[in-house]
């Protein structure tokens, strides 16, 4: 979770549109996924990394992307919005690629990642979240 109380960086948009209104809810959901993905990949990698190295590295990557997206959406500066666009795009590409790969070649994924089967284990929220993120950044652009 970002620090909303920290002093505003120089390029901050005065009203910080990305974290107000629906953005506040979006960031909250992002933060939950950041926490869930980090916790999951930390436990996978620390306890049984050898079982499925590829899936677990992808889990860790997904976790990092969620953290970056959460922080950048919450900061809402010009720079961080750009980073947020990239991380949402990477996230969307990731969930589509891993989702497809986990269906086409299930043997490569002996254990689940957040993005397996398009995020089915998480109610398909991982598939919807980057789309909402991109739409929200576009909506709040001036």
């Amino acid at each position: 979770m970002a620090e909303p109380s920290s002093p505003a960086p120089p390029d901050a948009v005065p009203s910080n549109p990305t974290r107000s209104g629906p953005g506040r809810l979006l960031i909250a959901v992002y933060a939950i996924f950041a926490l869930a993905a980090c916790a999951r990949s930390a436990s996978q990698i620390s306890t049984h990394f050898q079982r499925a190295p590829l899936a677990y590295l992808l889990s860790a990557f997904a976790a990092a992307v969620y953290v970056v997206a959460t922080v950048c959406l919450a900061r809402g500066t010009k720079t961080s919005r750009r980073v947020a666009v990239v991380s949402c795009a990477v996230e969307l590409a990731g969930v589509l690629l891993i989702g497809t790969a986990s269906l086409v070649a299930p043997s490569a994924f002996p254990d689940a990642t957040v993005w397996s089967v398009f995020g089915m284990g998480y109610g398909f929220v991982p598939l919807i979240l980057p789309v909402l993120g991109l739409l929200w950044i576009r909506r709040t652009a001036r």
Partner: protein, 125 residues
Amino acid sequence: MIDVLSPALTWVAVGAAVWALVLVLADRPLPVDRPDGKAYLGLLALIEVGLLAQAVLGFIKLATADHDVPALSYGGYLLGSLLILPVALYWSLAERTRWGTAVLVVGALVIPVMIVRLGQVWAHG
């Protein structure tokens, strides 16, 4: 005792989510200076105390487990659940609109999900 506490917490948390959802639908911010708003904060505090008790009981249960339980995941869910409500409330109160209140709906719903996962981790690893 945890086997009674966890389902109870699940339902109280769902109740807190429904309460917040009603506020969202009525487009009213959480009235923190009115009695009903204070009652809501009290309910969240009650859930948090319950989660703390669940964490203590859970670690005792983990220490005396009769089968192999992934301790890191189980402990992670016990401790992780303590973070949710304080952070959700902090993030929610920073914007007193229906969207701020919607954060409480989501936060309160994460608790039952984590409790269900806790049960799954205990049963299946």
